[in-house]
Symmetry: C2
């Protein structure tokens, strides 16, 4: 039986419609929202691109602030932009509150997080199934992108599912949580102290073991990124070099970590994905 | 002596910088914010375009949600986007609260509004003087645009200052406040009950008396605009026809009153202004 989707927004934007839906997620045990942009005049099953946002964002951020709809309409790509985590309220010890409202798009194993914080399975299984049920998409043509924490989510999704995504693009991604004290602290709430387990959810560690088709990764990180030291892009680049995984890295002068940076380069990211998702 | 501007934001965006400043306004007796976008590589004094936002907006709305910076950079136009009203707190009778946080970009005459609600003078005198003092602009090349309530502000600014603005563009503008009960009620708080005074601040009434150079007005209003009946576009068009004021009106199918609508047509509006502001 089809999952029920309740419409939150359905609004004309460029040559298409920006929609937001709400639904009960079985994987997350929670009610979730996601955006879907549907270009006009799609001919048959369309390619689909998932966008994962960063911390402090919601399903509204990318759809309101990036201007991506211009390029999704231009290339004929359906774009799905989920919320970043279940907005669950539960009693947590004071210091655990740091881990709430994030998610890093992993599947938590420790209580109380494991009941709702299963974003990896939501992004890679439940949500794509819902999208396939409700929209006319070509499930052979999927790609994924993300910003900051969502960049990490996009990377681990691609690395753990060889061949599932045709291309990957990242704005200022978190690259190496196990080597970033502030983020490692959050991962310990989700996974406990076992570093082996944590490394299975760390993009830079996963790259070393990657075996699969070309990932077609595009990265932008501005030279004025205020979180640069926590992102550890250099660790990812080194791991990619060692593993023979090719990655296209751009460090445009003067841009920071925020949404003005994303809007400035979203055209290039859609152009990148279109090369792998669309017939020329 | 130059007015002091305090920097709130200074951020790279497309090929330029998006800035927000805060300053003491003498005309408004209040501290105000405005955005300024400065494209790279301007050659000498640059043309300037003022954007007035609608109700419930601030100086952040247009700069975050429209994606205009792409086109400002492309054409080499400095864009100034002030807040919509002074954020003043004062004791007002309960029903007067309806008039707070709006402004319609008029100069109020009634107490307590008249002390701070002088947005017309702020937009047309104080702010342009500040912009000229601090930025390398060509004061012979100014245009104005606006959305909803801000569309009304842009219209009355152009109509009351023949020749000051080279072109005008409007997204779903409020056109005829004196004939719109909900808005007339607000105007009565600012002006009292004298309809003669109110009509001096009503764009459709002002068009009838306009004598001056071509206004070069471009208007977009979506067919699904949820406030259509309060905007009274047809009254403005009729008044323009009678007065021989030419106006280019577009009613794109299915778009509503919101920011997705603006982002969809901001390119066309910048193209319009560039024809009057920029050398070809």
């Amino acid at each position: 039986m089809k999952q029920q989707l309740d419409t939150v927004l359905d609004c004309r934007c460029f040559a298409g419609r920006q929609k937001v839906y709400e639904h009960d997620s079985n994987v997350l045990n929670f009610r979730m929202r996601f955006g879907v942009y549907i270009p006009d005049n799609l001919e048959g099953p369309a390619p689909v691109l998932y966008h994962l946002s960063g911390m402090s964002c919601s399903e509204q951020t990318f759809i309101q602030r990036s201007g991506f709809q211009r390029w999704a309409a231009h290339y004929g790509i359906i774009v799905v932009s989920p919320d970043v985590c279940p907005r669950v309220t539960f009693a947590a010890e004071k210091n655990e509150i740091e881990a709430k409202g994030l998610s890093f798009y992993v599947n938590a194993v420790k209580k109380p997080w494991n009941r709702n914080y299963q974003m990896y399975s939501y992004i890679n299984e439940e949500l794509p199934n819902i999208i396939q049920e409700h929209f006319n998409i070509n499930k052979e043509r999927q790609s994924i992108m993300g910003h900051s924490m969502g960049g990490h989510g996009a990377l681990i999704s691609a690395l753990k599912n060889p061949g599932k995504y045709r291309s990957v693009s990242l704005f200022a991604p978190v690259c190496n949580p196990s080597q970033t004290p502030k983020i490692l602290e959050v991962f310990k709430f989700y996974f406990g102290d076992d570093m082996k387990t944590i490394e299975e959810w760390d993009a830079t560690c996963l790259v070393a073991k990657y075996k699969g088709p070309e990932l077609n990764i595009l990265i932008h990180q501005g030279t004025n990124d205020q979180y640069k030291s926590d992102l550890k892009l250099e660790n990812l680049i080194n791991a990619c070099e060692k593993a023979g995984v090719s990655v296209s890295v751009n460090t445009p002068e003067g841009y920071d970590h925020g949404h003005y940076f994303i809007s400035s380069f979203v055209e290039q990211h859609f152009h990148h994905h279109s090369q792998f998702l669309c017939d020329s």
